[in-house]
Amino acid sequence: MSDKNSGHVTLAMGAGGKQTAELIERVFARRFDSPLLTADDAAVLDPPHGKMAMSTDGFIVSPAFFAGGNVGKLSICGTVNDLACMGARPLYLTCGFVIEEGYPLQKLEQIADSMATTAAEVGVTLVAGDTKVAGRGQVDGVFITTTGVGEVVEGVSPAGAKAAPGDAIIVTGDIGRHGCTILLERDDFGIEADVTSDCAPLWASVKAMLDVTHDIHVIRDATRGGVGTVLYEIAGQSNVGVRLDATVVPVDPAVGGVCRMLGLEPLYLACEGRLVVIAPRDVAPALVEALQACPYSVGAAIIGEVVDERPGWVVLNTEIGTQTLLPQPTGELLPRIC
């Protein structure tokens, strides 16, 4: 590696030769070190016991570094949480990188550090990876795709179609912080607020719930589209109504302030470390208690219930005791001003 190029990713580093090996050695291999991660063409693994869950997700975030995380941490949390939502203990992950030519190696190392730290925290092993370098302007910084395999806890089978009237709806913490953080980091609207992304791995929280009961009907992570979108998905899949109490949905005051400034609805801001959990009403308090004992779900709360009425819709009990529909998600979040 020439001195001139030592600080940045070059096209040669993606060409598969010596420089690729050096990039992998310098950035990834030492951080993701494990007996399962070899220089061979594929990882050879022991299969999980019982049922296996598998998921893949691509991670693109601008900016790649934000208050409370970066695209690396996000890429581990996202796939780990998808597995956790199926009641699966995350075992193995693979990761594919597409890196823009000229990307600072130091930043890439920070991203890899976050991935290693988060994976270690969850107890998931990175078993295979791939690195490609794309010409300047062909990608924006770093894109990461992770694929995960998990072992489903026996007797657990949450699904979006299983919400039943009488169930309680739990959210595992205050909502919308990730979406709000990214909006603030982009600085398109000149707003400042002390908000940190909720980006977090949630297997421990799910595990704590499964230790209480296996009778959990739905677990979903509220990522893009936020809690509101997830609730509409579940209402549709289960053909039930959702009744939310608007006054108890936890929202950080500063997130609320940003939303009021821009005319946005916190229920539609993205989260990256929040679950929506639907379970029979009688076990819900014990689930909330178990969640509150876990570091990433101390703010867990019951926010509503599943009902027979108005299947497919989310109804809000308002601050003045009336009921209104939660407007359905419309895609791109646009500030409402005039």
Partner: protein, 350 residues
């Protein structure tokens, strides 16, 4: 008013048994908040709430969007409130223009558009100036600031509107108007008092749950008497004199013109355009734009909805060809639009 003695605003509404009343909330933010808070559920059956034309996006003519798209296609960087991005023009929206490579930036304030122009001297930045008296001062401040800084790359595409002649055009559409609180924070209360003297009743309303319910209770209690009245139910924000310096600024930078309101047609003297001495920040002149006339979807009944002549659900497109995700008319796009509010909050069921 002994019959309302000691009743709370909510009780006045729920116990009302007088004549039937049409109350028009002129302001789109009122429409939005009334739906968001479920306030219609508090009203007795004799009271009909009509959503009026006070959503600037909804009354903006189709041709204005076409003009903005033309600018985006001719090298301008469009800066706009988020409200306008998905509004359909004759064939596309600013969102589709952006997807096709046009530069469209959403800003919080016209002053941010000036800052963007300052930082991007190689781009020709146009701010889409929509909105009523509340919003115009911000656009005028932006113009003054750009001129003071000597910026050569900032201009306005105007479609601003003013309320006085619109009230006159709407006077038979309702028994009581809920006047838009923030417009009158700028223009004051004299117009409302004059309207009362001419037989037009209204209540100036704020935007919190308590303010809206109180304003509606006043509208119902006073409306039952049948005598023309005006009540300022938003005095913490609206002073009788308004904001004279804002009015002076508007008059310095802009002058009245006839304006086309979607659904209401041309209302004399109800628009604002840049004065001649501000021609160098008038995008239509700076870009030597051709005259562009838009064509609305003929089946769309936004116009009648805006006049309160029909409910959104009476339109053949409502909920079928026209939804918030794929809007045909502006009333379905804007979060403040009556169609959007009806669709998203199940207005027909409320």
């Amino acid at each position: 008013m002994s019959d309302v003695q000691k009743k709370t605003p909510a009780e006045i509404l729920s116990s009302y048994d007088g004549r039937s009343l049409r109350i028009m909330e002129v302001c789109g933010t009122h429409t939005h908040e009334i739906f968001r808070l479920g306030i219609r559920k508090l009203l007795p059956p004799q009271v009909d709430l009509i959503s009026g034309p006070g959503c600037p996006v909804c009354v903006t003519q189709v041709g204005f969007i076409d003009e903005a798209i033309w600018l985006a296609e001719h090298g301008a960087t469009i800066t706009t409130f988020g409200d306008l991005v998905r509004v359909p023009g004759t064939t596309g929206s600013l969102a589709t223009a952006r997807a096709a490579g046009g530069r469209v930036r959403v800003v919080y304030s016209p002053l941010d558009a000036v800052a963007y122009a300052r930082e991007h001297a190689d781009e020709r930045v146009v701010f889409l100036s929509v909105g009523f008296e509340t919003t115009v001062p911000a656009a005028c401040l932006a113009v003054e600031q750009a001129k003071a800084e000597g910026l050569q790359n900032f201009s306005l595409l105007t479609a601003n509107k003013t309320m006085p002649n619109a009230y006159a055009a709407l006077r038979d559409s309702a028994d009581v108007f809920l006047y838009p609180g923030h417009v009158h924070a700028i223009t004051g209360t004299k117009l409302c008092e004059d309207l009362a003297a001419q037989g037009v009743s209204g209540v100036l309303a704020g935007f919190t749950a308590k303010e809206l319910i109180t304003a509606l209770a006043v509208a119902v209690a006073k409306g039952a008497e049948g005598k023309p009245f005006f009540v300022n139910a938003y005095p913490r924000v609206v002073k009788p004199e308004g904001a004279p310096s804002a009015v002076a600024l508007i008059n310095k930078v802009m002058e009245p013109c006839d304006a086309e309101w979607r659904g209401l047609g041309v209302i004399e003297g109800s628009g604002l355009r840049l004065r001649g001495e501000y021609a160098d920040v008038d995008a239509r002149r700076v870009f030597q734009m051709p005259s562009i006339e838009g064509r609305a979807n003929p089946a769309c009944r936004c116009g009648e909805v805006l006049r309160g002549a029909c409910k959104p659900s009476d339109c053949p497109l409502f909920g079928r060809g026209c939804t918030p995700q794929h809007a045909v008319g502006a009333c379905m796009v804007s979060g403040e639009g009556a169609c959007s509010a009806y669709y998203q909050y199940g207005g027909d069921l409320q």
